[in-house]
Each structure stands twice: as C-alpha cells, then as structure tokens.
C-alpha cells in the first residue's frame, strides 16, 4: 500500500500533515523527505493526522520520533491525532504514547490547545 501525504499550512496550527495508506519501510523515506522540506525551526507546531493511516511499522515510528525530537529542539509543539486502533497498538507496544501528545479527535486537541493558550495568557 502506498503512502499519501497532504501538508497544509495554518497560521494558528502551523503545519498539518495528514497521512493515508501505509507508513512502512518502503514509504518512510517519503515522509522523512517531506518533513525535511516543510518543517524547520520556524514551524511552531506540527499536527500529524492519522485518520486515514492503515498501517504503521517501526520504520514509520522512527520518522515520527525524529520529527518530535526536531520540534522539541526549538520548543515547538508536536501533536498526533486520530490514530486508528491497530496503529495505536504499535505505539502502545513500544510504550511510545507517554512522551507524545496524542489526541482522540480534533475536538480533544482543540480543548488542549485552548487550555494551553489560556495558560500563556494567564502568565503561567
């Protein structure tokens, strides 16, 4: 199964990367290339939307971890959204969920972002 990557810009959100298909050893380099091209220290937030991702292997996980590390390095936010159960299972097996901001859906993520914003406004 191929990988389809759609990247959209949002002044509020930063970059939204929507994945569809399979993120595996064959397609992971494709995602890494896109991230190298679109994500740099100037990007304050990356949202990865997994709603249409059917399959994930360790090769894909490595690209995801590298992206998180990149965002952490300039205090950017990295959020994961809409993981299908079988994809979530892969994260759970290697205990990768703890270090990540993972949201069930857009609504849950919006609540989190609003809460974060309020914290900033309240000087916390």
């Amino acid at each position: 199964m191929p990988l389809e990557i759609t990247i959209t810009d949002d002044p509020k959100e930063g970059k939204r990367i929507a994945l569809a298909g399979s993120l595996d050893t064959a397609t992971a380099p494709q995602l890494q290339d896109k991230i190298d091209e679109h994500v740099d220290a100037g990007v304050h937030m990356v949202i990865m939307d997994f709603r249409r991702l059917e399959f994930l292997s360790s090769a894909g996980l490595r690209v995801i971890f590298r992206t998180k590390k990149l965002m952490d390095s300039h205090n950017g936010r990295f959020l994961l959204l809409n993981l299908q159960p079988q994809v979530r299972k892969v994260f759970e097996i290697i205990k990768a969920l703890d270090g990540m901001n993972v949201f069930k859906d857009q609504e849950e993520m919006d609540e989190y972002l609003t809460a974060m914003q309020n914290k900033v406004l309240n000087g916390e």
């Binding site: 064959a26 292997s57 090769a59 205990k95 270090g99």
Partner: protein, 131 residues
C-alpha cells in the same frame, strides 16, 4: 507446510504477506487483525535479516516456511548471513532508536514464541502465534 523463497530485498515484504494471507485464507483463519499483526511481523523480521544480518539488500535469499498445526501458526525464516540472532537485540524504551530493537520488540509482542538457532551455516528464526 508450505515454503517460499525470497530475494534479499525488503521489497519482498508484500510478496511474503500475500503468500501468508493466501495460505491462511485457504484454512479460513485470515482475520483482519491477524493479517495486520502478521504483516507487521513479516516486515520487521525481513528488514532485520536484510539490514542487520546481510548488511543490506543482497543477492542471497531468505527461505520462509509456514505451517498451521493445532490452531497455531509457525513461521520459520532461514538465511545464509553470518551468525546473527535478531532476538538478542536490546530495546529499553521508545527513546532508544536502535534500529533493530524496536522492530524485534514488536515481533515479540505480536507472537507467542520466538526461537533462534544456527544450523549448518544458516540463521533460523522460528516464530509461532496461536490463532
């Protein structure tokens, strides 16, 4: 028991998965969840053998046997790379991006038993999964 010979190239993952799916469909046990797990196990094992065993894409081949017995599926991978036990790779946490470790952690979690032995110059990895 059925066997297939693969080229030492990760592009063969799809062919092996299709082979396994067909075998399981013939025995009417190919559920979506089972096939997802096996597709992942297959990729992680083949990538391990090719990158860590053989050192990269190779002309050498990988032989795979599949057998269903007593409601348990056994997959045996055999290759001619120098001695390499994929199960010996360590994985401490998701922070440890050691190439092979994460993949084998997934294999161990998605199968019920794993066994490596070296025999007549070949690495033999046997995995079994209860259906």
């Amino acid at each position: 028991m059925r066997s297939i010979s693969l080229a030492g190239d990760t592009a063969e993952c799809g062919r092996l998965t299709d082979f396994v799916r067909q075998y399981l469909q013939e025995h009417a046990v190919a559920t979506q969840e089972l096939m997802y797990d096996l597709q992942l196990v297959i990729e992680e094992v083949l990538v391990n053998i090719i990158h860590h065993g053989y050192g990269n894409t190779t002309d050498d081949r990988i032989e795979v046997e599949i057998e269903l017995h007593d409601n348990s599926l056994t997959l045996t991978f055999s290759d001619s790379a120098s001695a390499f036990d994929p199960l010996a790779q360590k994985f401490d946490s998701a922070d440890d991006h050691c190439d092979g470790g994460m993949g084998i952690e997934l294999v161990k979690s998605l199968t019920d038993s794993q066994h490596y032995r070296r025999k007549r110059g070949r690495n033999i990895l046997t995995l079994s999964k209860k259906l």
